[in-house]
């Protein structure tokens, strides 16, 4: 075989002044891949922290919903989807590293999941899960809709359970938007009026009490939704303002 291929290649290299790509570009590329893999695991971990927050907050809800209905409300689909997406991205980035392909893909996935759970638990303990969820709820309308949709079955005013967000306070108590955007007047006992400054606009609440009329609800118990140790909860406990549910 004549060396015409070699000649053609060398001629092309000379003619087009082709040079080997600089080493630093490959180092930069490899570093970026590792960075993306790491960021994917990190974001996955943050999703895990929110999942833990939502599940631990939801299981403590004392509502009428039970069985399958309750289970469907409790599962944080949105965050599990985020976690799945970033686990896949972490896996794909890892596969593109120099030696990533040598590892069994199932092992890579298992390690990514374990790492996400460990880091996610640390993030949850540091309060990040709650903060992230709150930011998403307040700033991302689509997420808010998803949350309202999933929590809606927990609300059953005729049976004495109402969930929604605080719209504003007034003389008699406060106004609440339920998750179907209906406005409710929530009546509080007079001795509970000192609670009112503690009710920030937009706060998600679970209210137990009695429906008096259409869109008027007498509160017997207030509990921040998903936040078992919120200041409001502790204030109710400390001042014995409203009876606690056992």
């Amino acid at each position: 075989m004549k060396n015409s291929i070699s000649d053609k290649v060398l001629n092309k290299i000379d003619r087009e002044k082709i040079k080997p790509t600089a080493k630093w570009e490959f180092i930069a590329r490899d570093s970026l891949i590792w960075l993306f893999a790491f960021l994917s695991v990190l974001i996955g971990s943050l999703a895990v922290s929110v999942v833990i927050f939502l599940i631990t907050g939801s299981v403590q809800l004392e509502v009428q919903a039970s069985g399958l209905k309750r289970l469907l409300c409790l599962i944080p689909y949105f965050w599990l989807l985020i976690l799945a997406i970033f686990l896949v991205l972490a896996y794909l980035n890892f596969q593109y590293t120099k030696k990533g392909y040598k590892l069994n893909p199932y092992l890579v996935i298992v390690i990514s999941i374990l790492l996400s759970i460990i880091l996610g638990s640390v993030a949850y303990a540091a309060g990040l899960g709650e903060k992230i969820e709150e930011v998403f709820y307040r700033r991302i309308p689509v997420y808010q809709k998803i949350m309202h949709q999933s929590m809606r079955p927990l609300s059953d005013p005729q049976k004495g359970f109402l969930v929604g967000t605080v719209a504003c306070t007034n003389d008699q108590g406060f106004l609440l938007y339920d998750f179907q955007r209906q406005k409710w007047q929530i009546l509080l006992p007079e001795q509970s009026y000192k609670l009112l400054p503690k009710l920030p606009i937009g706060m998600r609440l679970l209210i137990k009490g009695q429906q008096l009329e259409e869109f008027i609800f007498q509160a017997e118990m207030l509990k921040p939704l998903l936040q078992p140790k919120h200041d409001l909860d502790m204030m109710i406990e400390r001042n014995n303002i409203l009876p606690r549910i056992n």
Partner: protein, 191 residues
């Protein structure tokens, strides 16, 4: 004139980085095996295979600084070649009509030994049967069999070339051998 045959691949890479014309030595070393490899996995004609090989060498030259000496250079260049062929398939969006490649007796002997085959005295007929069987296998099986039996790569090298874990390579080879045996039986090729 440099006696490049005594130089290791790594030394030739360093020489090529210092002077582009030294790249000739790497090309001389790998031109023939890679042309055979391209034709075996793709069934492209000689001319098409040569075009692909030119693209491979240009790519290899551009990526010389990416070569990691912890990896065998042959595995690295075979990987680039494999990827270039796949890329060509995607561009043409069609596989070429089956063009046979020469299967010499030593290759057939290797295959026959591993499968305990009795093959016909008519070597040409036998090699045509094997060729047809190989071409009718799924790509993932054909490529590992070609690397194992015709390119004589070990499992670790195949893992590096195809960027798959060694365990996956072993599984693919076992399954490919099973498929091949089934095809041999259906073609009345005796064991």
């Amino acid at each position: 004139m440099v006696n490049y045959q005594e130089k290791t691949d790594q030394q030739l890479v360093s020489m090529a980085l210092a002077n582009p014309h030294n790249f000739l030595y790497l090309m001389n070393r790998y031109e023939k095996p890679l042309i055979f490899y391209i034709r075996r996995i793709s069934q492209f004609s000689v001319e098409e295979a040569e075009d692909i090989l030119q693209e491979v060498f240009i790519k290899v030259y551009k990526h010389l600084n990416a070569y990691d000496p912890k990896l065998k250079f042959s595995s690295w260049i075979y990987r680039i070649t494999h990827n270039q062929v796949i890329s060509k398939f995607r561009k043409t969006k069609a596989r070429p009509d089956q063009v046979s490649w020469d299967m010499d007796e030593s290759l057939l002997n290797r295959l026959a030994a591993d499968f305990d085959l009795e093959y016909d005295i008519d070597l040409k007929l036998f090699s045509q049967k094997i060729f047809n069987i190989l071409n009718n296998l799924d790509d993932k099986y054909r490529e590992v069999l070609i690397l194992r039996y015709f390119e004589q790569k070990d499992y670790s090298e195949i893992s590096d070339i195809l960027k798959k874990p060694s365990g996956t390579v072993a599984t693919l080879i076992n399954r490919a051998k099973l498929k091949l045996k089934q095809k041999f039986e259906s073609q009345n090729i005796k064991f």
